[in-house]
């Protein structure tokens, strides 16, 4: 009985601490790097791309969005971040996919062989 009480109490404490930490992390006055797109003038950015004044940018995302029409002329901003500004991370991720599928193939190859042997033994006994 005490085991269940201790489990429930610790679950509640972890939940309250998690909500408080997440709320504290995302408050705008605590996190210095945040992208507020109100200062970006998109029509002027589209027309003269290289001369856009980028000095009062407040974070990484503002710099990326403001230099995107001149460097990587893509309409999709997320695709340009994934494949152009952060292409090295995407190479690593596709190799994680390759490694996971290759190791699953290795593990399950002997599983198929054991299963076939067990079925043959069961059929021979019958």
């Amino acid at each position: 009985m005490t085991r269940k009480v201790i489990t429930l109490a610790s679950i509640l404490i972890i939940f309250v601490v998690a909500v408080y930490c997440m709320h504290w992390t995302a408050r705008p006055e605590n996190s210095a790097i945040s992208y507020d797109g109100r200062g970006t003038d998109v029509v002027e950015l589209y027309e003269n791309r290289e001369d856009y004044d980028n000095s009062n940018a407040d974070g990484v995302a503002a710099i990326i969005v403001n230099t995107e029409p001149s460097k990587a002329e893509t309409v999709n901003a997320v695709a340009s971040v994934v494949f152009d500004y952060r292409g090295y991370d995407t190479i690593g991720e596709s190799f994680i996919l390759l490694a996971a599928i290759a190791s699953a193939h290795c593990i399950l190859r002997s599983a198929k062989k054991n299963k076939a042997e067990a079925e043959e033994k069961g059929g021979a006994k019958k």
Binding site: S94, I101, L108
Partner: protein
């Protein structure tokens, strides 16, 4: 037609009709999400997983034996490695042209058209193909372990 009707149990006919109806939509929609990856929301990873659901629908409607006859797993395994090599070659082109790694160097149009993002568009195709074949091979291998139960049901 007679052969198909002999092999199918009555309780599976509804699932077979449902899989028949959804399968062409899944494949076409998945390819559309991959192809327009640089213009509209979506991209390589999302479209690849949508198209790989065709293997799952084939298994649900018809069983493992027919799914293995329709899609060969050796072909999928080889193509996954080819797509990975193509992706690395495309990323290394920018190094030979004097820019940083994975820079967009093959621009063929103005902003807003489909070929405007040069290497970004081709990288989307490569990653979409890689995820398609990889996840399809994984599903086919794991569903192939359940073959024993299906064969016992059919011979009874």
């Amino acid at each position: 037609m007679k052969k198909m009707k002999e092999g199918i149990n009555v309780k599976n006919i509804v699932i077979k009709c449902g899989a028949d109806a959804i399968l062409p939509f899944a494949i076409v929609f998945g390819f559309a999400v991959i192809l327009f990856g640089s213009v509209s929301p979506g991209g390589g990873f999302q479209g690849g997983v949508i198209t790989a659901s065709a293997v799952l629908l084939l298994y649900l409607g018809y069983g493992t034996k027919i799914a293995k006859q329709a899609i060969s797993s050796e072909c999928l395994r080889v193509n996954e490695g080819i797509a990975a090599v193509v992706y690395v070659v495309l990323a290394g082109i920018a190094l030979f042209m004097g820019a940083s790694f994975c820079f967009n160097t093959l621009k063929f149009g103005s902003m807003g058209e489909m070929l405007a993002g040069g290497t970004i568009t081709f990288m989307t195709y490569a990653v979409g193909y890689k995820v398609l074949t990889g996840v399809g091979f994984l599903l086919l291998m794991m569903l192939g372990l359940l073959a024993g139960k299906d064969e016992e049901e059919e011979t009874e």
